[in-house]
Homo-oligomer: 356 residues x 2
C-alpha cells in the first residue's frame, strides 16, 4: 500500500484530534511522524501511531499538556513536558531555543516528564531557515548493555547534529549509539535470517545470532560491539545521552527509562519523571560568515563524495540517503507495510477518521 | 624510568621557555602535557614534546602568538590562534568561554590557524570549579577512511564531554572516533603482534593485520569497523568533528588537515588555515539545581558500577580508569618508556635544561 505525504499528515492530525489533542498540537505530531516516513526512517513514522494511541489510552501520554519552560540562565531552559508526547515537547522546546538563539547565539533545553520524541532529525532541523545548527538527543527504554555488562541499562539513545548547507544540501547525522537498532532485528525477523555477531547477546552475555533474542531477555550491544573494536566508545556516547537527557533535567535514567510499549508499566521506584530529551542550537553566523561556511561545507561535501571508494560502493554524506528518499517519496508516495496498514485501518474504523 | 609529576611539569615549562615561549604560556603547555601523562594517556603527553619542538624549529608553531578572539555573538567566538600550539590556543579559548558562561550560561568557540591540542579532556575540565560541563573536539591529520572509502580523509578526531560530579567523581568521555587510535597500533608494533580485523585496511581497502600498515599507505577504520557493524556512525561522528573544528571557523579540513610530523609539509592548496578545534561549556545550574544533579549523577554511577557484568569484567564509568591512574601516578610517579626517555635526554642536553 502507498499513501501520499499530505494525506498521511491529514490522517494523523485527525487521529490525534479525535483523542482530544488540539489542532495545533496534533499537526505538530503529524509533521514529526510523516517527516520520518518521508525520509525512510519507517521505524519512527506512522508505524508508531498505534503505540502512541495505547499510551494515550492508558494515561501515560497527556494529550492536553501545559509544557512549562523554566529559563534558569539566559541561554538554558529546564522544561517540564507535563507528560506530553515527546514529538510535541521536544518540538516546543526547540522553538523556544530558536527564539533565545536570535538574541544570544545559542540556547539549550533539558526536558523531563516526557515521552517518545520520534525522529531526532525533525527537531534538529527546525532552525535551518535561520542557519542555526541543530542538536537533539533522547534517552529511551533500556535495551543496550554497557561495555563489559550483561544487563539492559541504556536505550539506543540517538545523537543528532544537523548542519544547514546551501541549496538544501545539508549535513544531518542522526544515529543510534548501539551497533544495530531494534528495527534491524525486526527486518531480520521478517526475512527469517540470522543476525551477525556483534549486534546482540543472550542473558548470559554470549553472542547471539537469533533476531528474536530481545524477546528472550537478550540485549543489544553498544556501537563498537566488543572490547577489541571499541564498544566502550559506543557505551560512552550512550551514557552521555542518558545523562544529558535524563540526569540533568530530572527524567528517569538508565534502566528506569519508561518502556515504549503500553503493556509494560514504568518501574515504581523511578529516580525521575518520564523520558528525557536534550535539544539546542548554535547560530552558524557566530562562528564565521555564513556564506564562507556554506562555500566550505559545499566543498567539503564534494571532496568527500569524490574520494576513492571501495569497488561498487559510494561515500555518502550523513543524511544523504534520507534526503534522496524524501525527494522520491514526495513524488511517489510513502509505502506502508501490510502490518502497519492493517493497524491504520483499525484506527480509521475505531475513531471514524477516513484514510485513502 | 620514572619521573614525578611536578618535576615533569618543571622540565617541560623550561624547555618551552628555552624555545622562546613566555613563562605563562610555557606553564600552560606543560600542564596540558603532564595532565595526559598523569592520567595514562601516554600518547598525548611528554612523548609528543620532541615533535612539538621540531614544529617550532620549522616555523609551523608560533611560540609568541597573539591569539585573537572575535566575539561574533554574545555566546560565540571565532578564534584565530595565530599559529599557536593547540595546547595553548584551545586552553585560552576555553578560559574565554568560561568567562562568557558566567554571564550567559553557555559559550562556544571555533578555533582556526592552530596546531595539535593534546588531550581533549584537559580543555574540557577547565570549568569544573564552577560546575560547568565541558566540551572539546579537534580535527587531526588524515589517517581514517569514510564509510565505504579507501582514501585517508579524516583524523582520529576526538570528542570529549566532561561532566563534573560530586566528591571529584566526574564523567569524562574522551574518545577517538576511529575504532582504534594510532597508539594501539604502536603497542602492537612494539609487541610484534598482529592487529585484529576491523582496525585498518591496506591501500586497496582489504582488511589488514599488519601493525605497520599506516606506513604502507594503509588507513584506519572509523568506529564500527564495517558496514554490518555501523561504521557509517563512526564516520558520521568523525565528520561532525571535522566540520565543527575546521569548516566552521576556517581551518584546513579533511585530507588537508596539517600533518603532525614536521618532515611532512602541509599541502599548499589547503582550504583553510592550520588545524581547528571546537570547545565550549554549559553551566550545569542552567538545567537543574546542582545539588540535585550531583545526587542523581552519583546514583547513576553507582547503579552502573553495580550492574551485572561479564565474568571477571567490570563496568566502568567513562573517565574512571584515567582517574585511577591519576591517583596512582601522583603517588608513584610517571613511567617513561626508554625511547621517550632518550628523547628527553637529548632535549635536556641540547637546550641545557636539567631533568631528574
Amino acid at each position: 500500500m502507498k499513501i501520499g505525504h499530505q494525506e498521511l499528515q491529514r490522517f494523523i492530525t485527525h487521529v490525534f484530534k479525535k483523542k482530544g489533542m488540539s489542532h495545533e498540537y496534533a499537526e505538530i505530531c503529524a509533521d514529526v511522524l510523516s517527516f520520518a516516513d518521508l525520509r525512510g526512517i519507517d521505524s519512527h513514522g506512522v508505524a508508531r501511531l498505534s503505540g502512541y494511541l495505547r499510551l494515550i489510552d492508558t494515561g501515560r501520554i497527556n494529550v492536553n499538556p501545559t509544557v512549562k519552560f523554566e529559563q534558569r540562565k539566559k541561554t538554558q531552559l529546564r522544561v517540564n513536558a507535563d507528560g506530553a508526547i515527546g514529538l510535541l515537547s521536544a518540538h516546543l522546546a526547540m522553538l523556544e531555543c530558536i527564539k533565545i538563539t536570535h538574541d544570544y547565539g545559542t540556547a539549550w533545553a533539558g526536558i523531563f516528564n516526557s515521552n517518545h520524541f520520534g525522529a531526532a532529525a525533525h527537531h534538529a532541523v527546525q532552525g535551518f531557515a535561520h542557519n542555526y545548527i541543530g542538536f537533539a538527543m533522547t534517552n529511551a527504554s533500556p535495551l543496550v548493555v554497557p561495555a563489559n555488562g550483561i544487563e539492559r541499562m541504556l536505550g539506543t539513545n540517538p545523537i543528532c547534529v544537523a548542519i544547514p548547507g546551501k541549496n538544501g544540501k545539508s549535513f544531518i547525522l542522526d544515529m543510534a549509539t548501539s551497533t544495530a537498532a531494534n528495527g534491524k532485528l525486526e527486518i531480520a525477523q521478517r526475512q527469517k535470517k540470522e543476525i551477525p555477531d556483534g549486534w546482540a547477546i543472550d542473558p548470559q552475555g554470549n553472542s547471539s545470532n537469533d533476531p528474536h533474542i530481545l524477546s528472550q531477555n537478550g540485549a543489544l550491544l553498544p556501537l563498537g560491539s566488543d572490547s577489541e573494536h571499541g564498544f566502550h566508545k559506543g557505551y560512552g556516547l550512550s551514557a552521555w545521552v542518558d545523562i544529558f537527557s535524563a540526569v540533568l533535567p530530572g527524567a528517569s535514567w538508565g534502566p528506569w527509562a519508561p518502556p515504549f510499549v503500553s503493556f509494560l508499566q514504568p518501574k515504581s521506584d523511578a529516580p525521575g519523571k518520564g523520558l528525557g530529551h536534550f535539544v539546542g542550537c548554535w547560530d552558524m553566523d557566530g562562528f564565521n560568515e555564513i556564506s564562507e561556511i556554506h562555500d566550505q561545507l559545499d566543498d567539503w561535501m564534494n571532496r568527500f563524495k569524490t574520494s576513492q571508494s571501495l569497488q561498487n560502493q559510494e561515500v555518502l554524506i550523513p543524511g544523504e540517503p534520507e534526503a534522496r528518499m524524501q525527494a522520491f517519496r514526495l513524488e511517489n508516495g510513502i509505502p506502508i507495510v501490510e502490518e502497519v496498514w492493517n493497524d491504520l485501518m483499525n484506527i480509521s474504523a475505531e475513531l471514524n477518521v477516513t484514510i485513502k
